[in-house]
């Protein structure tokens, strides 16, 4: 069964450092997303991406965040200068004509 894959599963980084979270969406999907989930809380939308550009972003997705689809298969989320409050699970999702499917997530810990 096709699935969304994310790497790494766990990333520990120092405050102020840049991180790149990677995702391989399901191959025939056209819509791509990043969500985050702070421990014990609900899943929050960050950004959606379609036709090689951002289609929508939330207030959380400020200038420190960027997304890229560099090679037609990978979909990355970059946080330029991490803050302690960026610590969370980050989920990539992709969607075709049906529901969005989520990856297993990257646990980002900023210390």
């Amino acid at each position: 069964e096709p699935e969304v894959t994310q790497t790494p599963s766990h990333q520990v980084t120092q405050m102020g450092q840049e991180v790149i979270l990677r995702c391989v969406p399901i191959s025939n999907h056209l819509y791509f997303y990043w969500y985050r989930q702070i421990l014990g809380q609900k899943v929050e939308f960050l950004v959606s991406f379609y036709n090689n550009e951002i289609s929508e972003k939330s207030e959380i997705f400020d200038d420190q965040f960027s997304v890229e689809r560099p090679d037609g298969s990978n979909f990355t989320l970059k946080i330029r200068s991490t803050k302690l409050e960026d610590s969370a699970m980050y989920f990539c999702a992709s969607k075709g004509r049906g529901a969005a499917f989520f990856g297993q997530g990257t646990r980002l810990t900023v210390v």
């Binding site: 809380q41 609900k42 529901a99 969005a100 499917f101 989520f102």
Partner: protein
């Protein structure tokens, strides 16, 4: 504003019983609703969805009911099994590629 909320944060049921997880929403403008299951340390897993012009949809052991009059959504799980233990989220979507708005989640515990 947009919101999706859940009535109870936890639900405990006996194995074999039916489970009902509820969700309320505040904004009527929505194309569809989805239920996701999230096991510890994993990503949300799609269970079932329902378009806003429908009242009921059935899957394998699951049924989703949508009451637009009272803005209420429910997920019914028949013959609940220990493997059903997880956090269940309702979410709403607005168009083909639009974002999902998630509720807070209900933790379902199944007692053997």
């Amino acid at each position: 504003g947009e919101s999706v909320g859940l009535h109870l944060p936890t639900l405990s049921v006996q194995e074999g019983d039916n489970s009902i997880i509820n969700c309320a929403y505040s904004n009527s403008a929505s194309d569809y609703f989805i239920w996701y299951k999230q096991e510890s340390g994993k990503g949300p897993q799609f269970i079932i969805d329902i378009r806003s012009n429908m009242d009921k949809r059935q899957g394998q052991r699951v049924t989703v009911l949508l009451n637009k009059t009272v803005k209420h959504l429910s997920l019914q799980i028949a013959a609940t099994q220990p493997g059903d233990s997880a956090v269940y989220f309702c979410a709403r979507g607005y168009n083909q590629g639009g974002k999902l708005i998630f509720g807070q989640g209900t933790e379902l515990s199944v007692k053997p």
